[in-house]
Symmetry: C2
Subunit: 353 residues, 2 copies
Amino acid sequence: MARIGNGRGRTTYAKSGVDTRARARSLRPLLAAVTYRPPRSHGRPLGPAGHYAGLVRIGRETIAVTTDTVGTKVLLAEQLGRYEEIGEDAIAINVNDLAAVGARAAGVVDVINCARPEPTIFAALGRGINRGLAAAQCALLGGETAVVPSLLKAIDVGGTAIGFFPHGRRPVTGAGIRPGDRILGIPSSGFHANGYTLIRALIRQKGIDLHRPRSGARTPLGIELLRPTRIYCRAIESVADRPYVRGFAHITGGGVRNLLRLNPRVAYVLDRWPRPTGVFSWIRTLGAVDDRELFQTFNMGIGFAVIVTRRGVGPAIRALSRAGYGDALEIGRIAPGAGVDLPAWRLSYSEYS
Amino acid sequence: MARIGNGRGRTTYAKSGVDTRARARSLRPLLAAVTYRPPRSHGRPLGPAGHYAGLVRIGRETIAVTTDTVGTKVLLAEQLGRYEEIGEDAIAINVNDLAAVGARAAGVVDVINCARPEPTIFAALGRGINRGLAAAQCALLGGETAVVPSLLKAIDVGGTAIGFFPHGRRPVTGAGIRPGDRILGIPSSGFHANGYTLIRALIRQKGIDLHRPRSGARTPLGIELLRPTRIYCRAIESVADRPYVRGFAHITGGGVRNLLRLNPRVAYVLDRWPRPTGVFSWIRTLGAVDDRELFQTFNMGIGFAVIVTRRGVGPAIRALSRAGYGDALEIGRIAPGAGVDLPAWRLSYSEYS
């Protein structure tokens, strides 16, 4: 649960301008107003709503749909004059949400809202989109570009993805997760595209130069922070049809609390979470944000979790490795109880806001 | 084709800040960069790209996907403190694009990006979303809400819709349209959600009071301008499976030029376009925007076109009437040639930018 200020003068996501608790409070009346249920001839929505992807049964297929934008990471791109990474992110954030329900990506529609369309920026976005599509093995099905100078302070880049469940595969919701299961983690490529309002606030506060490497790095910090979101589709395709798979979690906005979107009647004990390195270690050494806030805002090094049966650990690690994710590792286990625990960090979370 | 200024001091969409030609120029390098083609096991994209909806064959179903936002109409909503209409628009603009390829709406995912989430605004959006869903007979499959104060000047409301083709229906692209066919029009409910940057510029320029009715009206102009986009789904469902149907056009951004998205090797002669009334007559009497610009920016009274064979006119009008669209009427015909002609207005368009 996001703390709204903590009395110690440290920075939180809420203080940087993103109040996730207020968002949850606003969504309740919106969802309460939506009472209409369509006739079966218009498809059959499958719950649970609020999961990573919307699911609907259409004829003989189950279709998954996601939509998301890169958010304020574009402001970093603007500062550095680099947009290719952002294009790739727009695909990544959406196809990863498809992967989180076990869906195979079929296609993406990109969305670009801008004040003034500029060919060089659009070309760079196109190159990134193409890289993202290749990594996710899906097609660009269309796009929407709006010129809305009176609405935006910067370019807004996002998209929509649709996926499906090949050969009788069932959506993976995590409902079958039970004590004794193991949690595998696939390392992320950085902060992905979440929490950049907070990251930018820190950079401003501390007067950090994006054009110089952080201590211990060779790449300028700005480039490191812009690194595109890793795409987990091939990883998930390599295990989604295996009976040992119990659940998936895309560790996106909300950090480790994303695990709470799966079965809420078990405890997620992350007792083997790898030591944060790279930008994750850098953000800790700044000392401005406490660990509780870091783990509930960022992926902190693990971008995707795969929950498997105890006996599935070996086969899953090998399958992931063959699919190109040789860095996947066991990061925890499922225990009786509830919530997400990081014992080594003395952190517990009980709510995904 | 959008004129970029016309030397007579009149207002154009480009001058108000929306340069559609610049947008087209920027999209070319983006699309050129997207060369990746996925393996068939990931679905089969169906052309043409750039049509109203992306189409992909998944297993035994063809899925249509659209995405769009309400754009700067939200600024009017903000001025008037009314958001319900905007919520309905977010559904309407997307499901109407599905209808334009003959797809039946299955579900929508809403997207709300805002600086600060406010429960009363979200509740109003929810009520509008619910009304839109009921009109389109589809479900809310999920939503995405981002709090991005550093990105936005106002709330941004949109969505994504997916649809399908029941019982062997084929996507309607208009490729079969030929000379002799007739163009039917379904009246719109106002400006829908396009061209509001221009409308707002006019209101500012002329010092118009939104709280007072325009001449000849009883409702305050602001309320009239906020009226939600008519939803054409039931109209299209009533005729989509009929052999006399040749094409559909959602008359959205780009005005009558939207017809050029259908078969480009025929002429669309709009020789029975109804006299503009209501807000369409009002915007003409302002005298600030010429007819050429009006017809290529707004729907000017007809929100959806249905192209049918000559013998299909009667049956189509009757089917539409039974579905609740008793105001549908014949507005033109297909002739040999190319382009869109409005002979009574001495207007021709040859390009959909």
